[in-house]
Symmetry: C2
Subunit: 236 residues, 2 copies
Amino acid sequence: MTQARNLPVTMAERVFEAIQDAIVRGDIAPGAKITEPDLARQYGVSRGPLREALQRLETRHLVERIPHVGARVASLSFERLIDIYHAREALEGMACRLAASHCDEAEIASLEALLDEHAALHEVREGRGYFQKEGDLDFHYRIAHASGNAIVTQILCEDLYHLMRMYRYKFSGYRGRPHQALEEHRRIVAALKERDGDFAELLMRRHIAGARRTIEDAYRQSRGEDLSEIEENSDE
Amino acid sequence: MTQARNLPVTMAERVFEAIQDAIVRGDIAPGAKITEPDLARQYGVSRGPLREALQRLETRHLVERIPHVGARVASLSFERLIDIYHAREALEGMACRLAASHCDEAEIASLEALLDEHAALHEVREGRGYFQKEGDLDFHYRIAHASGNAIVTQILCEDLYHLMRMYRYKFSGYRGRPHQALEEHRRIVAALKERDGDFAELLMRRHIAGARRTIEDAYRQSRGEDLSEIEENSDE
DNA sequence: CGTCCCGATATTGTCGACAATAATTGAGAT
DNA sequence: ATCTCAATTATTGTCGACAATATCGGGACG
């Protein structure tokens, strides 16, 4: 019952996903310049499909392009991360509201099962590793789909999802509160089950706003320390 | 003090904007198939830049593409229009909240001036024509920018703005309540002036939700009538 | 010594042609 | 007459080459 991954049938799609993964996991450094002929050779493809891939990456905010100048991997800034959290707060809150109205029982049961899995993993690993890393994103991913809103889902799951993943790789530092996060997830699903859209939206917004504040506090508290790296432009 | 239109310097951008306009104003019918060689000849450009333009239009939901099959102009459905309104409600509400926190006095004064212009036009034309057609979108466009959030602004002003314009052209029917809309705009700006983010968000959400309900009511009331045209797939 | 201008180099934007895949047409069988 | 299937046509995906533009370096001038 996972996502219906329609696998890439064209070169442009394949190289798009490959480069996206490379960027998200940091194999290509944030801010690094991209030279089309180089990358084209590297992925064994012509410049045509490569340019198409770069353009898609641009719409996902993973690369920035300037006409006649070139493309470079998006540089991660604290401000942009906060921007993403604000956008998520608004959109995922709305997604919860909509999901409460018209997602079927099976979907809710599936969400509960997902959280049970998280809880099991969580108890074992005592709050580190998997859960907050990808599991959390998976939950939000599922909520977005449960909204039944094509626009909201597309923005959250295509445009912002991979950006979040990219930040996760760089910000492996402070993503605390796994107990609290799991509990908040549970309450959100409970609100969904009661078909209380207002409350579901409220809970999701508080959940995301809380995560944002945690990041903001950690950032302000550790300026000039290890987190300052996200500000620098790591050119090659 | 209008938007900083960095004019297109490349063929792909020019043809992108040209096709976008053609689609938005209905010169190319919704749902119509797009054949790359034809359009390329039509706009006096090669297939390379044309494909780039089509891809950008795809990210804005103005065309839909299927690999190895082709592209067609997005067909306007009622459900998708409602989806857009829900997304706007969430995002523009957040934009208001953010704008209340950190947009400068000049920006607010500028918004008030814009509404004065609308009021003048509105008084003259008694609520028809300009105001609800483009003026309303302009206001929301400005609010988005005032948020100072790059992500939110990009989604609202790049991705959804032109989709809304497209629907406006097709739904020239029921966009009533210009008096009320202008008044609601005024209250939103007033809340911004008082730096009341909570209230500004609330007002904007009510404003957009109200517009959505007007459309929903008009649609349900006139099923099978003139509005049913938005459901059909107008192939050529 | 710093700044500005100009030529060489590299990179991007655009084009036309070829290959791969889908849509279409027509023939044949039931 | 209709359905199935194969050959044909048309359209998309990909490639390599050319033109236009920006970047980098050296030299002249203030």
